[in-house]
């Protein structure tokens, strides 16, 4: 029995499978070991092995332990050393015939560690790059992914969101208001070359000041917004902006960006439930469709150009947003998704000033009659 703390485990046929703890010392001729318990086949609970009798290798779970093997008179014994000081002392004292296997063992440990680090480095690095890329707007990746999504998928997605939305709404099926919105949409859509989308317009009876377009081409206009518009060009301006969100597939980009991040995160953190939850959350978000600032700018600028090509006075878009922002009254949801910042206004005005003047073609409908049918007094006129 010894009183020093054990620093190695000794294995042999007669020993328990967990090995016998022992205290190993490196001596000039070899190793001595003192066992904590008396085990059979050892004299006085101790043993010694000359260097000449042993072979060495690397072993254990991470190949980082020094394994010493030798034949005792009765059986083969194996010693597992993992204490770094002990291994260093062993390497210094070991004679030349052990030095090359020792070097091999040490090299093996280094290789394993290096491979470990390399693999983890590469995997960790690429995961990090992926997460950062998707999160901090490497929009290129998102665009690549969005390009591969067929229009039909997008339409299905939009339709299901559209149906969910219509559930609680009162729809205006026909009449001059619907006809007017359809005419404006048609005028704009006719100026879109190779348009893969069919724009379906729905007018919803609601005092909420809002309008939005869902991925796939469903356009929803609230009567509340029509009432706030003094000129039809203002409604057309909002429509042009919204149609361009559809054309540039902005909704899809948002979804892919968020889903991509969640997908990567759930792979890393092994949380598959998060993915389903996120899908549901996205369904809700489709309604409110908050786009990024870059997307809004894009929709603004392409919207202006579309108005220009359709020969509709583009200034309506600017004046409408500005007026809404000025007297913030009622539920102006359009503003919460499209805040009229001064930089946005300036950019729009600059863009408008740079455009050649266009002679607008009037709409077929009479705006005053539309206003009357919406219940707005038209005495302020023109």
């Amino acid at each position: 029995m010894v009183d020093t703390a054990p620093n190695a485990l000794c294995f042999g046929d007669g020993f328990p499978a967990t090995g016998v703890p022992c205290v190993v010392h490196v001596e000039g001729h070899g190793l001595t070991m003192a066992f904590l318990h008396n085990v059979h086949g050892t004299e006085n609970g101790s043993d010694s092995v000359p260097f000449s009798d042993m072979t060495v290798s690397a072993g254990g779970l991470d190949h980082d332990q020094l394994v010493v093997k030798w034949n005792s008179p009765t059986e083969q014994r194996t010693l597992y050393l993992k204490n770094p000081d002990l291994i260093r002392a062993f390497r210094q004292a070991a004679p030349s015939h052990l030095s090359s296997p020792l070097e091999r063992a040490a090299e093996q440990v280094r290789q394993v560690r290096k491979r470990h680090r390399l693999v983890w480095g590469v995997v960790g690095g690429s995961l990090l790059a992926l997460v950062l890329g998707l999160w901090f707007g490497s929009d290129l990746l998102v665009e690549l992914a969005v390009d591969r999504i067929p229009i039909e998928w997008e339409q299905k997605l939009g339709e299901s969101a559209y149906r969910d939305f219509l559930g609680g709404q009162e729809v205006m099926e026909e009449g001059p208001v619907v006809a007017a919105v359809e005419e404006m949409t048609r005028r704009l859509a006719n100026q879109i070359p190779d348009n893969p989308y069919r724009f379906d317009v729905t007018v919803v009876k609601s005092d909420v000041v809002n309008a939005f377009a869902l991925p796939g081409g469903s356009v929803v206009v609230f009567t509340g917004m029509m009432k706030k518009a003094e000129r039809p060009e203002e409604v057309a301006g909002v429509l042009a902006h919204e149609l361009n969100h559809v054309l540039q597939r902005h909704g899809l980009e948002r979804i892919v960006k968020q889903l991509g991040f969640v997908a990567v995160a759930s792979i890393i953190f092994g949380n598959q439930q998060g993915l389903g939850q996120m899908m549901k959350q996205l369904g809700v978000e489709l309604m409110t469709l908050k786009f990024g600032r870059a997307q809004e700018t894009e929709a603004d600028l392409t919207g202006l150009q579309l108005l220009y090509r359709a020969k509709i006075d583009p200034s309506g878009m600017i004046t409408f947003f500005e007026r809404l922002a000025e007297k913030d009254e009622g539920r102006v949801e359009l503003l919460s998704t499209h805040p009229m910042s001064s930089s946005r206004a300036e950019q729009l005005k600059a863009e408008l000033a740079a455009m050649p003047t266009v002679t607008p073609e009037p709409f077929v409908f009479e705006w005053d009659k539309i206003r009357t049918s919406l219940g707005v007094s038209t005495s302020t006129g023109s």
């Binding site: 190695a8 499978a17 090995g19 194996t78």
Partner: protein
Amino acid sequence: MKSEILYPGAFPMVRVEFGEGEHIKAESGAMVACSPTIDIESKMEGGFLGALSRKFLTGEKFFFQTLRASRGAGEALLAPTVPGEIVVLELDGVNEYMVQKDGFLAGADGIAIDSQMQSMSRGLLGGEGFFILKMSGKGMLVLNSFGAIHKIELKPSQEYIVDNSHLVAWSTTTSYNIEKATSGWVASFTSGEGFVCRFRGPGVVYIQSRNPRGFGSWVRQFLPASE
């Protein structure tokens, strides 16, 4: 500190007797009952970030509980969440064990618990995730299993093959390779099963007689499908 397993079999508890001032670390939620002299502290092992990363990466509980007999001797009853056996190991300072994350129930204060990152292949295919717990030090270590615990003793160079989802703990003097149990890589990857560990002695491997993942999918077929 003394321990005793009560009701050995499927629904055991372990009774730990504390001398004054003694304390143990336990999986949070393991404490069933205790003397009024025992204080329960929830401590974040390894600080907030350590605990957070452990939670995300190993799926392990955020906290360990510390049970401390600060106001005199006493006892505590501990039990795991799942039905299955409990085994108490006495660590001697040289033997070290790797424990899969659901296998730890409690450890004496002299036991050091480290979250260790596995190699990529072991993490991907081994079924215990990328992080497992390494137990070292000296004192009592309490493990729990799903089903019965079976101990496999390996002589030097002796080999044994274990289905990865049945692993509970293994000594660090063993080494293992992940192998595929069936022919055909597609089946292995899609089912997530079919990987086995070829262990090589010397050392001890503790396995559980039931497979928690297998049990989970068996139960799932009786649950109404969630939309």
